[in-house]
């Protein structure tokens, strides 16, 4: 349908103060195994055209029907809808003409189905050997290609290949059950498997799960907490990334994912100790949420959401920036060809500091080392949150003492970040699918950080 992009822009430009047409195609392969059986093997090429028209209000329309009459009808309908009063402000931005792509060292198209299957079968054998009874494994790849043009002269073409791996594991022994998930994502080709060190990573998870099933709960109380990069990542994503999304701050998600404890006028408000820096950066090479230009055609750049413990910068697309009278900082994304662009994260992380893990641990008399999490949630203003440890240990006098079962932290965003007194020099990322919007749009993200140490955290 790409052949309709120029025609659609030419036709619609006369009818809107701003008009944008995009073609997006996602070519996906999936293999799913359940407890050793190949449950599903699939392929899809999902593609279509979308139009955004701005007049008295904003209207978005999409169709995958390859017929100019149908496309013209959808544009006409969108134009009519855009003339009904509503919100209609987009920030003024420079129009770029460019193309970009992410390179693949091992091209997705060169990797046969049999090889992808053998990656999963190796993992399956490893897990069976470890005695993990419940195993759902999936490997996916996706080549996204797109072209977006606007009445203002923007024209951006891109090609973005991605590979991802997912595992859900369950282990039962003596009536004790533990579950765990592994999510890995990479922009690029099948060199991802080496980048992830996949087999070792899965093996480590399997061993920790087995130990967790036999572990005991600790008595509730106040402990020092050393949190691993997976915890830093989820906290960064949930309680720095989401509350910094300007559309939430403006209330645009009020009936769905909610709003933010941060208000429009809160830049400079203290939310953490002065060693806490939170970043969102779509430009990290091969990151799962990588892009060079956002969905509005604005160049991507690194953003400091919290700097030295203070609220610093919001994430903007052209719509939210326009409503706040600011410039976009390139945070516009949509998950598929037929979804409206929203303010989204990319790679969100706590910026590394100066400590080694050993230095952090040696100063802990009675504490907990939480390497990974299982259940978690956060309220709809991103303030009250809960993290349940999956792989976690008791620390006594600076040494790991024993593995413990599902320690629970229920705290607030400000309390969490304000309790951080040491930030590690390491940096690791994990992948996730961030959900937002109505209809729900799941976008690929990385989240991460270093090890961090918090003092006096209530754990049950």
């Amino acid at each position: 349908m790409e052949e309709f992009v120029d025609r659609a822009i030419e036709y619609a430009s006369k009818m809107g103060s701003y008009v944008e047409t995009s073609y997006l195609s996602s070519e996906r392969n999936t293999i799913l195994m359940k407890n050793g059986s190949v449950s599903a093997t699939g392929y899809s090429k999902d593609s279509g055209l979308a139009f955004r028209v701005v007049n008295s209000s904003i209207s978005f329309a999409s169709s995958n029907i390859s017929d100019w009459g149908v496309i013209r009808g959808e544009i006409d309908y969108a134009v009519r809808r855009s003339k009904i009063p509503g919100r209609n402000t987009l920030s003024e931005e420079k129009s770029y003409r460019d193309s970009w792509e992410v390179a693949e060292r091992r091209r997705i198209k060169d990797v046969p189905l049999e090889e992808k299957l053998s990656i999963l079968k190796d993992i399956e054998s490893l897990l069976v050997k470890e005695g993990i009874q419940m195993r759902i494994l999936a490997i996916n790849d996706n080549i996204e290609e797109g072209l977006i043009e606007s009445s203002g002269g923007m024209s951006i073409r891109h090609r973005l290949p991605k590979v991802s791996f997912f595992a859900m594991l369950g282990f039962m022994e003596g009536g004790n059950f533990e579950q765990g998930t592994i999510e890995l994502g990479y922009s690029g080709g099948y060199e991802a498997i080496d980048f992830w060190d996949l087999n070792n990573r899965v093996q480590q998870e399997a061993k920790a799960l087995k130990k967790a099933a036999a572990a005991k709960k600790i008595p509730p109380g106040t402990y020092d907490l050393v949190a691993g990069p997976e915890i830093s990542g989820i906290v960064a994503h949930e309680s720095a990334g989401h509350p910094s999304e300007a559309d939430r701050i403006l209330g645009r998600e009020m009936a769905q994912a909610g709003e933010s404890f941060i208000k429009k006028e809160d830049r400079g408000m203290r939310v953490g100790s002065d060693i806490v820096n939170l970043v969102d950066d779509p430009t990290i090479e091969h990151s799962f949420g990588f892009y060079k230009y956002d969905r509005d055609g604005v160049p991507a750049r690194k953003r400091y959401l919290y700097k030295k413990g203070l609220v610093n910068e919001f994430l903007h697309n052209r719509e939210s920036a326009g409503r706040m009278g600011e410039k976009s900082n390139g945070a516009s994304r949509s998950s598929e060809w037929d979804k409206e662009p929203l303010v989204r994260m990319s790679t969100t992380y706590i910026e590394p500091g100066e400590y080694t893990l050993e230095e952090m641990m040696e100063d802990v008399k009675n504490g907990i080392y939480m390497r990974s999490f299982t259940e978690w949630n956060i309220d709809d203003i991103r303030f009250n949150e809960k993290y349940v440890g999956r792989e976690a240990y008791l620390i006594r006098n600076g040494e790991i003492f024993e593995q413990i079962k599902r320690p629970v932290i229920e705290t607030t965003t400000v309390k969490f970040y304000s309790s951080i007194d040491a930030v590690g020099k390491d940096l690791q990322f994990s992948a996730g699918t961030c959900g937002k919007g109505d209809p729900m749009q799941g976008v690929d993200v990385w989240m991460g950080g270093p090890h961090i140490r918090l003092r006096d955290v209530y754990v049950r």
Binding site: K34, N35, S37, V38, S39, A40, T41, G42, Y43, S44, K45, D46, G48, S57, I58, S59, F60, A61, S62, S63, N64, I65, S66, D67, E74, A78, R81, I84, P85, G86, R87, E114, L117, Q133, M134, I136, G170, F177, Q179, G251, R252, M254, A255, G258, D338, E340, E375, N377, I378, D379, D380, K386, V408, E410, T411, K415, G435, D438, P439, M440
Partner: protein, 433 residues
């Protein structure tokens, strides 16, 4: 426009069994926040999904453009040679089936102008709130399925409406409506009154307390609870082991007053079905009946593996629930509240996550109206609490169910559900420290 019959003809030549489903949909959505429309979205789409089986080897693909069929089919044929057998696949349903006709009327719902409805709703509730937001969907879907043994077509039109309004203290309440029937049209028109009435309960706002509480779940809130429960009854999920239903077929897991169905025969709900993805007639399936796990949800292959009959829930790879009905009881919501000595009524919840799928151990975050009741009266309105409990406890401790029900659907948190108010004893409430 893609032609199902032509596609079926081509794909059936290269496979032992093929199932082709074509979905054509037209959807209009109006999103609004802070008393104004943000955007109008429209989707005009076609999607063809193809499932192929060669012996026990299986492959699926989606098609957005019929011109891509030849290339995609070559890829599928090559894949079928290279992959292993799918031990979960037995066959598509090989019985010749006939289908019922739907009984709902929807002419009035179809005539609604989404933007006009939203603007008039905003005007109605604006004097009572500082700000209101929400979403209106009108969606028309038609579906055709062809297999070697069956073919059929079905369609459904539906409206979804959700509004969340904040009072002058910025405390939110929420209402939700979903229907495919003109009979519910008056209820849609009453959504404004409903959210205004709900806000009249908001008083003495404060941080909530920890402890065990008698909880009254509103239909929207209980819909969320059962929407996270019923997918675990899919035989795929049960077979994986990651389900609280695994190993519990026939066991009592809940109170004898609690019955929950997968209910695609309720034509006034937006996901009513005549048949599933392999042409099996849809049916009303009790998943939990009088507290006992009665059925898993099956397609033909999972039913064969479990030595039972299909329940008409294909998904050919994984059986899926369609829409939920919770059996009403005999109580009234007024009596339920007035007989509560100390408890909490919760309007809505979100962000439900599990730490243990086998025992259904989860937490979820109540929102949009948490009303503390003492001696039969709403005394306070709470915020910042969490339900940290297990589904098994909640179903076991269910003590009261109203005769009044509501059809709801909200965002990705609830499947289309018809639910009463449900009263549960000893629900564990936690909060941040």
């Amino acid at each position: 426009m893609m032609d199902l019959n032509k596609i079926y003809e081509k794909v059936s030549r290269v496979s032992d069994q093929a199932a082709v489903k074509k979905v054509t949909s037209r959807t209009t959505q109006v999103r609004f926040s802070n008393n104004a429309i943000d955007i109008t979205n429209t989707w005009n789409e076609e999607l063809v999904t193809v499932f192929l089986a060669q012996g026990k080897k299986t492959f699926s693909f989606d098609l957005r453009d019929e011109r891509a069929l030849e290339d995609t089919l070559n890829r599928a044929v090559s894949a079928l040679k290279g992959i292993e057998e799918n031990n979960d696949f037995v066959s598509l349903n090989d019985r010749k089936n006939s289908y019922r006709t739907k009984g709902n009327r929807d002419e009035k719902l179809r005539l609604l102008n989404p933007q006009e409805f939203v603007n008039s709703f905003i005007d109605q509730v604006k004097p009572f709130f500082k700000r209101v937001g929400g979403v209106f969907y009108s969606r028309s879907i038609s579906e055709e399925v062809a297999t070697p043994f069956n073919s059929g077509s079905q369609g459904q039109f539906g409206i979804e409406f959700v509004a969340r309004a904040f009072n002058d203290k910025d405390y939110p309440v929420q209402t939700s409506f979903m229907s495919s029937s003109d009979e519910d049209f008056p209820l849609l028109e009453k959504q404004g009154e409903e959210i205004i009435d709900l806000s009249r309960n908001v008083r003495n706002i404060r941080e909530g307390e920890e402890g065990k509480f008698n909880v009254i779940f509103t239909p929207l809130c209980f819909a969320s609870i059962v929407s996270y429960t019923i997918p675990m009854a899919s035989a795929f999920q049960v077979d994986s082991g990651m389900s609280m239903f695994a190993g519990r077929l026939g066991d009592r897991i809940g109170s004898s007053i609690f019955t929950m169905y997968d209910d695609p025969l309720e034509d006034s709900m937006i996901n009513a079905k005549l048949f599933d993805d392999e042409g099996t007639p849809a049916q009303r399936t009790p998943v939990i009946e009088k507290g006992v796990v009665k059925n898993y949800l099956h397609n033909f292959s999972t039913a064969s593996k479990f030595k039972t009959e299909t329940t008409g829930n294909a998904g050919i790879i994984a059986p899926t629930p369609w829409q939920i009905s919770v059996e009403p009881g005999n109580e009234s919501i007024e009596d339920m509240v007035s007989s509560t000595k100390k408890g909490v009524m919760i309007v809505n919840t979100w962000y439900t996550r599990f730490q243990d799928y086998r025992e259904g151990v989860f937490s979820t975050i109540p929102r949009d109206g948490i009303f503390y009741i003492e001696n039969g009266e709403i005394k306070e309105t709470w915020r910042s609490i969490r339900i940290s409990d297990s589904l098994l406890n909640i179903f076991r401790n269910t003590e009261g169910i109203t005769k009044e029900t509501k059809k709801v659907k909200w965002w990705d948190e609830t499947l289309p559900t018809k639910s009463p108010y449900v009263q549960v004893a000893d629900v564990n409430i936690s909060r941040s420290r």
